[in-house]
C-alpha cells in the first residue's frame, strides 16, 4: 500500500533529520506574554465597543431587560428581502416576543438563508482587544452556514461574556476545543484591490452586536439603526 509507504518514508526522514540535532532537550515554551487583561470592567466593555465599531460593526447597547424591545425594532422584515429574519435554533424565545415574523432556523434551507433579511444569534464570548465575537455553534448560535449566507448578522452578547485578551478567550474555550468555532471580527471584508477595505465580500455585509448589561448607561448613547 503506497499510502503507508509514504507515511513511513516521511516519518523516517523526519526522525533521521532531527536525531542529528545538537539540542536534545525538550524545550519548554515560556509564556512571557500577557495572558490576563488589566482593565476595569467598564473600560474593557468600552474597548470592546470601540474596536467593534472600528472594523465597521454596528453596536447597540441596551439594558438586560431591553433586549426584546431592541430586537423588536431591529428585526423588521424589509422590502429588499423575500424571506424575513431567521432566528438560530435555541435562540431565547422571550427575546423574540416583540418580533412579528421570524423564521426558525430549522425551516431555513440554503435558499432561504440566501434570501433572508438577516439572522439573529447569541454567541459564546467576545474579545475586547480585537473586537471579536466567538461562536461555537451551540444552542442559539446557529449552524456555521446560518451566520454566513444572510446579508446581515445580528448577535446578542451579555457584558459578562466579554473578556479582554485573546489568551483569556482561549482559556474559556479550552473545554470546547473540538467544537466548530468561528471567530468573527467585523463583517466580511477584503482589501485585495488597491488595499481599499470593502465590506461584505461573501459573508454578511452587516454585523450588528447587541451588548446587554444594566450598567450600560456608562456608555455614550447609541442610535438604533
Amino acid at each position: 500500500m503506497t499510502q503507508s509507504e509514504a507515511r513511513e518514508a516521511i516519518l523516517a526522514r523526519i526522525r533521521n533529520a532531527v536525531t542529528r540535532s545538537s539540542d536534545d532537550c525538550e524545550r519548554e515554551v515560556v509564556a512571557g506574554y500577557q495572558r490576563v487583561g488589566s482593565r476595569m470592567p467598564e473600560e474593557r466593555l468600552a474597548l470592546f465597543v470601540e474596536r467593534l465599531r472600528e472594523y465597521d460593526a454596528q453596536v447597540v447597547t441596551v439594558e438586560a431587560a431591553g433586549v426584546a424591545k431592541a430586537l423588536g425594532e431591529l428585526l423588521r422584515p424589509d422590502a429588499e428581502h423575500a424571506v424575513p429574519w431567521v432566528a438560530a435554533d435555541g435562540f431565547p424565545a422571550d427575546w423574540l416576543a416583540e418580533c412579528p415574523a421570524v423564521l426558525p432556523e430549522t425551516e431555513a434551507g440554503v435558499d432561504e438563508l440566501n434570501r433572508c433579511a438577516g439572522v439573529v444569534t447569541t454567541c459564546t464570548l467576545g474579545i475586547a482587544v480585537t473586537g471579536t465575537l466567538v461562536l461555537q455553534h451551540g444552542a442559539g448560535e446557529g449552524r456555521r452556514r446560518t451566520t454566513l449566507l444572510p446579508d446581515r448578522h445580528l448577535s446578542v452578547i451579555h457584558a459578562s461574556q466579554v473578556v479582554e485578551t485573546v489568551p483569556e478567550a482561549f482559556a474559556r474555550l479550552a473545554q470546547s476545543a473540538t467544537r466548530p468555532l468561528t471567530f468573527i471580527s467585523g463583517p466580511s471584508a477584503t482589501a485585495d484591490i488597491e488595499m481599499t477595505r470593502i465590506r461584505g465580500v461573501h459573508g454578511p455585509r452587516q454585523l450588528t452586536v447587541i451588548l446587554a448589561e444594566d450598567w450600560i448607561r456608562l456608555f455614550p448613547a447609541t442610535r438604533h439603526s
Binding site: I10, A17, Q34, I127, A174, I184, S185, T190, H202
Partner: protein
C-alpha cells in the same frame, strides 16, 4: 521524488527576471502603494501590543519545539483527526499530493471544485493537474480569482494580485464575467466577484483548500481568512480536501492564542482578520460529510535536516517580510519565479528544491535585516540567506564553475607579494583601452558581470607599495 515549487525549476534567474519588471512603472507604482499601506497598518497594530516581543519569542519557541518533535506531533494529529471523522493522507512530493487529491475528487465524480486560497496547492501545481484531468477549479479568494481569470501568476503570499490596480482588474472582470458596464471602484469589483461566486458556492459539492494550523492535540484545523469564501468552502460542500505542509502542525489548541495574535497583525495589519474557523473532523448536520487532510512533504524534511536553516520551516506565511523588503518592493513577486517570493521565498524555494534550482534567490537581498525585524516568529532570514549563499558557492566550487575557478586564481595571486605586484603591473598596462576619465565602465567576457551594474576605478599609476618605496628611501 518530483519536488515542485510552482515554476521554480524552469524559471530564469532572479537577476534576469527582475530586469524587465524594474522597467514597468505601473507595476512599481502598484507595489509601492500596497506595501506601504500594509506596512503602515502593521506598524500601528503591532505597536499597540505591549507584549509583542514576548509573543514573537513564544511563537518561535513553540515552532522550534514542534519541529524538533515533528514526527510525534504529526502522528498525534493523524490519530486525533481520524477519531473525529477525518481522513489523513501522506504525500512525499508534489506529484503524489496531486495524485491523492485527484483520486479523492474523482471518487465524488466532481467535474468542478471550489478552491480556497492555498499556497501548498500552488506549490504542487494542483490547478494544472486538475485541468489536465478535466476538472475545473474555481478560485474563490478575490485576489486569486483576479489572478486566475487574468491567466496571471500570484505575486504576493497574502495579497496575490497586489501588482494589479483597479482598472486592470476591471478589464479582466469585464471580459471574463461578461460585464461590459462594470465600474472600476473596488466596491463594484468586489460586488461582481460576490455575484459571480455565490452561485458556485451554492452549487459545487467539493472544495479544496489549505490550512493555517493543524492542531496535534485535538486533530483540529484552523483557517484564517477575511472574505468568507473560506467559510463558504468549508461549510457548504459535501466534501472538503485540505492540502497542508507538514510544517503546519502546532502542539496544542492553546498555542493558537499566540499565533492568532501575531498572524493577522503581521499579514494585513488587522487586530484580527474577519474570520477564523477552527474545527475538528466531521459534525453531524453541520459542514462536509467527507473531510480529508493531505500532509505534504515536498522537500520540507530536507530543510529539517539542515540545522542552520531549519528555522525556515517556522514560517506562518504572513508576508510581512515581503512588504518590508527593499528588493521585493522594487521587483514584486514574479521575479522570484516561485510560489514564494520575497525574503522568505528566497530561502524557502531553493531549499525545497534541494539547492538544485533557484540558486540565484539567496542573492536577491541586500541583507539589510528588515525581514527579520518584522517576522512574527523571528526567523533570522539574513542568517539563513548567508548560510545558503555558502551552500551555493560550495556547490559551484565542487562543480568547477568559471566563477569559482576565477576566485581560486585570485586567491593564489593575493597570497604572494610577487604575484600581486606582477598582476598589478599587467593590469596597469592592459587597462589603457578601457579607461575613460579614471573609470572603467565596461569589461569583456565573464568580467562584464561586474561592470553591468557598477563602474570600476581605474588602477592607479602607482601602487601604495611603490609610493612607499619611493618616499621612504631614506628610512630604509
Amino acid at each position: 521524488m518530483t519536488i515542485r515549487v510552482g515554476e521554480s525549476a524552469t524559471a530564469p534567474s532572479f537577476q534576469k527576471a527582475a530586469l524587465p519588471l524594474l522597467g514597468d512603472s505601473q507595476l512599481r507604482k502598484n507595489l509601492r502603494h500596497a506595501t506601504e499601506v500594509i506596512q503602515r497598518r502593521r506598524a500601528v497594530v503591532a505597536g499597540e501590543l505591549p507584549d509583542w516581543q514576548a509573543l514573537r519569542d513564544a511563537a518561535a519557541a513553540v515552532k522550534q519545539k514542534t519541529l524538533r518533535h515533528l514526527d510525534r506531533y504529526l502522528v498525534q494529529f493523524e490519530a486525533a483527526c481520524t477519531v473525529a471523522g477525518g481522513q489523513v493522507h501522506w504525500a512525499r512530493d508534489a506529484e503524489e499530493a496531486n495524485r491523492i487529491v485527484l483520486e479523492l475528487v474523482r471518487q465524488q465524480n466532481a467535474g468542478e471544485v471550489l478552491k480556497i486560497k492555498t499556497m501548498t496547492a500552488d506549490e504542487t501545481g494542483l490547478n494544472q493537474a486538475l485541468e489536465q484531468a478535466g476538472i475545473r477549479p474555481y478560485e474563490t479568494d478575490l485576489a486569486e480569482l483576479i489572478v486566475q481569470l487574468g491567466n496571471d501568476r500570484p505575486s504576493h503570499i497574502v495579497v496575490p494580485a497586489l501588482h494589479r490596480n483597479r482598472s486592470q482588474v476591471r478589464e479582466i472582470f469585464r471580459e471574463r464575467m461578461q460585464l461590459p458596464d462594470l465600474g472600476d471602484s473596488p466596491q463594484d469589483l468586489t460586488d461582481a466577484a460576490r455575484q459571480y461566486l455565490r452561485e458556485k458556492f451554492l452549487r459545487v459539492k467539493t472544495a479544496i483548500g489549505g490550512a493555517n494550523f493543524l492542531i496535534a492535540e485535538t486533530g483540529g484545523v484552523c483557517i484564517v481568512e477575511s472574505e468568507g469564501n473560506g467559510r463558504m468552502c468549508l461549510t457548504l460542500p459535501e466534501t472538503l480536501i485540505l492540502m497542508a505542509g507538514v510544517d503546519k502542525v502546532i502542539p496544542r489548541f492553546q498555542d493558537l492564542e499566540v499565533f492568532l495574535q501575531l498572524l493577522s497583525r503581521s499579514a494585513t495589519g488587522e487586530r484580527m482578520n474577519p474570520y477564523n474557523s477552527i474545527w475538528t473532523g466531521v459534525y453531524a448536520g453541520d459542514g462536509p460529510r467527507n473531510f480529508h487532510v493531505v500532509l505534504v512533504d515536498n522537500g520540507r524534511t530536507g530543510i529539517l535536516a539542515d540545522e542552520e536553516a531549519r528555522q525556515t520551516l517556522e514560517c506562518i506565511r504572513c508576508g510581512a517580510c515581503l512588504n518590508a523588503c527593499p528588493v521585493y518592493r522594487q521587483t514584486g513577486g514574479h521575479a522570484y519565479g516561485s510560489t514564494y517570493g520575497g525574503p522568505i521565498g528566497a530561502i524557502l524555494t531553493p531549499q525545497l528544491q534541494n539547492m538544485e534550482h533557484a540558486q540565484s534567490l539567496p542573492y536577491a537581498s541586500s541583507l539589510c535585516g528588515a525581514c527579520y525585524e518584522v517576522c512574527p516568529v523571528k526567523i533570522n532570514i539574513p542568517e539563513v540567506l548567508i548560510h545558503l549563499r555558502g551552500r551555493v558557492v560550495r556547490e559551484q566550487q565542487s562543480a568547477m564553475k568559471p566563477e569559482a575557478l576565477g576566485m581560486k586564481a585570485i586567491a593564489a595571486v593575493f597570497r604572494s607579494r610577487r604575484r600581486l605586484e606582477a598582476a598589478h603591473r599587467l593590469a596597469q598596462a592592459g587597462q589603457a583601452p578601457l579607461v575613460r576619465k579614471g573609470w572603467i565602465h565596461w569589461l569583456p567576457g565573464e568580467l562584464g558581470a561586474w561592470t553591468a551594474a557598477r563602474d570600476l576605478r581605474a588602477i592607479p599609476k602607482q601602487s601604495f607599495r611603490e609610493w612607499w618605496k619611493e618616499t621612504h628611501r631614506d628610512a630604509e
